[in-house]
Symmetry: C2
Subunit: 345 residues, 2 copies
DNA sequence: ATGAAAGCGCTAACAG
DNA sequence: CTGTTAGCGCTTTCAT
């Protein structure tokens, strides 16, 4: 039972491949093919359950109707949700998704980009981990359609990107803490900090403190190595406990850090928010049902993806090179829950 | 700056496409091509950053080195983790992954399978939602390589599958509750219940009760419609509260139900485990850090995926049809935490 | 109203 | 040691 192809069904009816192809692609009427012939073709295709070989079609057309999504780790809820959203919007345009995890590794990401190009994907959505922007610059120079999400490259001018306002997200969270009476606020952040989202969040944190006239001490911007978050967070929190002033609040740079912080604090028997307040950048369904529920900075993930795909589709379909790129910065939302308490003076 | 192809580099050196192709595929030595020529080829390819067109290669070879993964919803942590694991094992064998979410919809899953076949994927990993097994039977009859995971079709004989022992997972969880003194135990399950994993978990629950001589009342196997879990769980829990006997424990058929239950119980101001105990089928990182931490039945997700891919790869590479299929049933593990309390008589 | 033929970029059998 | 040629399954121009 070998695979049936265009030629087979053409022969059986006694017409040409051309005709069958036209009919199947809805070009029957346009090319003035008899209704009767068209029906015969359709009927036989259905009867034989003919499945066109899209690889052959792709080769001929130079188009795969597939796009690649590159994220740090698809098992991370944030990226899983992103993937789902991207999947749905892609489907809407008749595209499929190849998903790849870079593990925040430069070399891996670079080789993924290369491989996806070889697979002839029509476009790329990238949450890039790259320090070295060569690959991105290369994509740009080749006019390869791509959109950066979540993270972008300020130094590479004129690329499409859709990100959130990380700076103001962190800024407003810290402000919220200050308004609640907190004076000694730590931030648990990630290193290396070349990723724009992390850098902007860090800056939002320090600026909010400066603006409020709070003496900003570098000790309180704690860098956790990416490779060992759990252990790193615990160590940093222990250090914070012996700080000269009592640390009353923590801002976690992302959900992973927040989760590790909750774990560590529980282990050390420190109560949230009684002894210390906590805010997480990135919201999670669980934060709502935890006890206490966790205050978080939420990103409009669906809107990010919707925009990213729309931009990508325009690029893909505008065969003519468009020099103007879309650069979207969306607002975040501070969702106040029970983990960020009020300090009475 | 148009794309460079095999012919271009062949011409520039003054050799044939064949030779270049051989060299690039590591067949240079085998075909006795001069070291010198080989080096020249390699050097030019590198210099021009030549990227072979894998679509052309796929068409020629009848092999895409791509497999499809079909799950209910990739944004669900369980499937996200599965996807990651599958991605890693695929990569190891030089394959890529197209991920599709079926939304537990029969028609959507059927059309995904059809589309992936048209895309010429080399194999399929399916966590199927199908009631109607026609598509699965069709795959089987065509000898299309596929492995069912998480859920299988007992009525379709001789297919590859890798699942867990859902029956004993639920059975042992209920037993644990009974040992802890619980007598009136409810199960929050999902409907429709044609999915094997759900059906087996339900059976494990009822059998454990019967075995313990506990009067099993159908009222306590609560069916939550898949489309509206949050609302459904709340309604069912309210019903349970007015049951003739005091319900002291709940088994949730999966993490989504467990999360909804935690939410509902909190809303109703019912304390876990003081007033009611809770066990979740499927474990989550969050369950460990919640307060109280949640007892759960964990699945060996990585082992499932590892086996599934290995089986799939054997099928794909054994061009000769293998009539013997692999059917793996892996054990679950009950992780006792604080949400399942002891009742004193 | 329909068909012949070329060609997308690659690989492999066969020839020299 | 290397090249010629055919062909994977499809679409499309051009002919009739």
């Amino acid at each position: 039972m070998k695979k049936i192809k265009l030629e087979d069904i053409a022969k059986k009816i006694g017409v040409s491949k051309t005709l069958v192809s036209m009919v199947l692609n809805g070009l029957g009427d346009k090319n003035g093919i008899k209704k009767e012939t068209q029906e015969k073709v359709m009927a036989l295709c259905k009867k034989l359950d003919y499945k066109p070989n899209k690889i052959a079609r792709s080769l001929r057309l130079g188009k795969t109707n597939t796009i690649g999504l590159i994220v740090a780790d698809i098992s991370n809820i944030f990226y899983a949700k992103m993937a789902r959203s991207v999947e749905d919007y892609c489907n809407k345009y008749g595209y499929n998704l190849i998903i790849c995890s870079s593990d925040e590794k430069d070399a891996k990401e670079a080789s993924i980009i290369k491989m996806l190009k070889e697979k002839q994907v029509d476009g790329l959505i990238i949450s890039s981990t790259l320090i070295d922007n060569t690959e991105i610059v290369a994509l740009k120079n080749e006019h390869f359609p791509f959109v950066l999400v979540d993270r972008y490259f300020p130094e590479v001018l004129n690329t499409n990107y859709v990100v959130v306002d990380n700076y103001h997200g962190a800024y407003s969270a810290v402000n919220h803490l200050i308004k609640n009476g907190h004076q000694t606020i730590a931030m648990l952040t990630i290193s290396p900090a070349h990723i724009t989202s992390v850098r902007d969040r860090n800056k939002g944190y320090t600026d909010a403190l400066l603006k409020a006239g709070i003496n900003n001490d570098h000790y309180l911007l704690c860098q956790i190595p990416f490779e060992n978050i759990e252990q790193g967070v615990e160590t940093e929190i222990k250090k914070l406990l012996s700080y000269q002033k009592k640390v009353t609040a923590i801002l976690a740079v992302n959900q992973n850090i927040a989760i590790a912080a909750i774990k560590a604090l529980r282990k050390l028997n420190i109560e949230i928010p009684k002894e210390i307040s906590l805010i997480s950048f990135d919201d999670l369904p669980f934060f709502e049902i935890m006890n206490p529920s966790i205050t978080a900075i939420a990103q409009p993930l669906d809107t990010i993806c919707k925009n990213a795909i729309e931009i990508l589709m325009t690029e893909i379909n505008n065969k003519s090179f468009t020099p103007e790129k879309s650069q979207l910065v969306l607002p975040t939302e501070l969702i106040v829950r029970n983990s960020s308490g009020i300090i009475k003076n």
